[in-house]
């Protein structure tokens, strides 16, 4: 399992590098134009690190991911993703994932981002992808859906969350300096969060 997760991170690195220009373009419109560069730099570092090492537990893997991203992404997204993965490393086990512990993991990730960034849903940030994704898992769980369907629904919810940032006015992060003029643009961090979620789910669903 740890190995499968490691491969999912490697795949995510590829996806983020492929989307470097796209994320940078989104960030140019309402930020400082470096989000793609930051994510590509951090995940390239991460891929290097993971390729050269093996990990005995999921927790160890996620801790490495967290520390590597923290010390190489920089900007706002570095500490946020870093703290999210660090929080995950504290709760993830090596048992086969069930919907309920997937939800716990998602909640920890969101809690990490919120602790660090002090933002709420609706402020046009990565949280607007992450929170709907976790909410979707919870709903699937309540409705007793199977894992496969839950993941598909989760991916769709993340995508919708990302798209919804277009109409939001940013009140956190660099885009908030724009006030109303931030409306009409998709948030770069919400987009990278969607790409990460999508890639992981594609690997497992």
């Amino acid at each position: 399992m740890t190995n499968k997760l490691k491969n999912a991170f490697l795949k995510t690195a590829d996806v983020l590098v492929e989307n470097k220009d796209y994320l940078t373009e989104l960030d140019s419109a309402i930020g400082d134009g470096d989000h793609g560069i930051n994510m590509a730099r951090g995940f390239t570092k991460l891929a290097e690190k993971l390729s050269n090492n093996s990990y005995n537990s999921n927790s160890e893997l996620f801790k490495t991911v967290a520390m590597t991203l923290i010390s190489s992404v920089g900007g706002a997204s570095g500490p946020l993703y870093g703290t999210a993965f660090l929080n995950i490393s504290k709760v993830i086990t090596d048992q086969k994932a069930e919907l309920d512990n997937l939800i716990a993991i998602g909640e920890e990730a969101v809690a990490g981002v919120q602790k660090r960034g002090r933002a709420e849903a609706g402020e046009k940030t990565m949280l607007d992808t992450l929170i709907p994704a976790v909410d979707s898992l919870k709903e699937s769980h309540q409705q007793g859906l199977d894992m496969q369907t839950a993941l598909v629904n989760c991916q769709a919810a993340a995508k919708l969350g990302m798209k919804n940032t277009i109409e939001m006015q940013a009140t956190k992060g660099r885009a908030s300096y724009l006030g109303e003029r931030s409306i009409g643009h998709q948030d770069p961090g919400a987009t990278s969060s969607y790409l990460i979620i999508k890639t992981f789910i594609d690997q497992f669903a």
């Binding site: 920089g74 900007g75 570095g78 500490p79 956190k172 992060g173």
Partner: protein
């Protein structure tokens, strides 16, 4: 895609830091493996000042490391906050046991990364305080948002808090002094031509042949208003009006003025802007006690300028004029 005098875009930060340290190898050191510049004689028996942020703002911040200003500067990638591990190394390298003040520009990324570094330092028993500079009046101030950006006014914090620390004040006093500067400093900028990140293909924004943007940030962040180009006298008057109204600065106030070039602006234009700024302030009966014209907080090769006013009392005046080895900001 505008030309640049660089090598590999991925190496610009490490190479610029190397160049800076080589040029002053008797005064500065670079920490191995980190883009961190420290005073060669660090740690000095006094409260230490650490600042930093994304690169692309040269001479900020590494150019301000030296007696009377910073003890260390941490350089992130271009326009990207440095990471906590690098900041933590800087803190460890300059702490003499008297504590460390972090001077942070108010960007979410900077605030979070410095905060994480502070947590790491505190866990090792280092006393750390932080101040957050937010002098850009182009951004609306609100409790519910990230607040204002930190821009060129940061250099006044380096100078004045640096002088306070050099004078032997303790960490709380140095922090209080820094906060006093922050409470009294305001800036606003304009761009007439954009900048391009070394690793990006296009400039961060575009301006037409006859367009300028008021209220621009120092990372190519969009400003508040796009207009047709105007005379520099008109531009300076508008920027100063917004700055003055904000604090507000009033008749008989004594101020320091900074006319800051954004990287691609020739000195000729900065001097012409200085002329209008001083004349404008003098008309408002605001007393310009000291003027700084040059490049202090740039934005790669962006063309444009920012104006900063710092309201002075006797205490701040004395610290501003205190001895420093940083020729850039004497």
């Amino acid at each position: 895609m505008n030309k640049k005098l660089i090598n590999n875009p991925d190496d610009v930060v490490s190479e610029l830091i190397e160049g800076l340290v080589l040029a002053k190898s008797d005064k500065l050191d670079k920490l191995a493996d980190y883009n961190v510049v420290v005073r060669k004689d660090a740690p000095v028996e006094k409260v230490a000042l650490v600042s930093g942020g994304g690169s692309g703002h040269e001479p900020a911040h590494a150019g301000y490391v030296g007696p009377g200003m910073l003890d260390a500067a941490v350089a992130g990638d271009v326009f990207t906050s440095p990471t906590p591990d690098a900041i933590f190394e800087a803190i460890k390298a300059v702490d003499s046991g008297k504590g460390v003040l972090l001077v942070i520009k108010n960007y979410t990324g900077d605030v979070m990364n410095f905060e994480m570094a502070a947590e790491l330092a505190e866990a090792e028993g280092i006393e750390v305080e932080q101040v957050i500079v937010n002098d850009d009046v182009a951004v609306e101030d609100s409790l519910y948002t990230t607040g204002r950006r930190g821009v060129a006014g940061t250099v006044f914090v380096h100078k004045i808090a640096g002088a306070k620390a050099a004078a032997g004040a303790d960490l709380k006093e140095v922090k209080r002094t820094a906060e006093k500067v922050i409470a009294n400093v305001r800036s606003k900028g304009v761009a007439i031509n954009p900048c391009r990140l070394p690793s990006a293909k296009e400039s961060t924004f575009k301006l037409a042949e006859d367009e300028i943007e008021m209220g621009i940030g120092i990372h190519g962040e969009p400003g508040t208003e796009r207009t047709k180009i105007k005379s520099v006298d008109q531009i300076v008057s508008e920027l100063l009006s917004d700055i003055i109204a904000d604090l507000p600065f009033t008749k008989d106030d004594k101020v320091a003025l900074m006319v800051n070039g954004m990287g691609g602006t020739p000195l000729m234009e900065l001097y012409i802007a200085t002329r209008k700024a001083i004349n404008f302030l003098t008309e408002q009966e605001i007393d310009v006690a000291k003027t700084y014209t040059g490049e202090f907080m740039t934005s790669l090769e962006m063309e444009g300028l920012s104006l900063t006013l710092l309201k002075l009392d006797n205490d701040l005046t004395e610290l501003l004029n205190a001895e420093t080895e940083i020729n850039l900001f004497k």
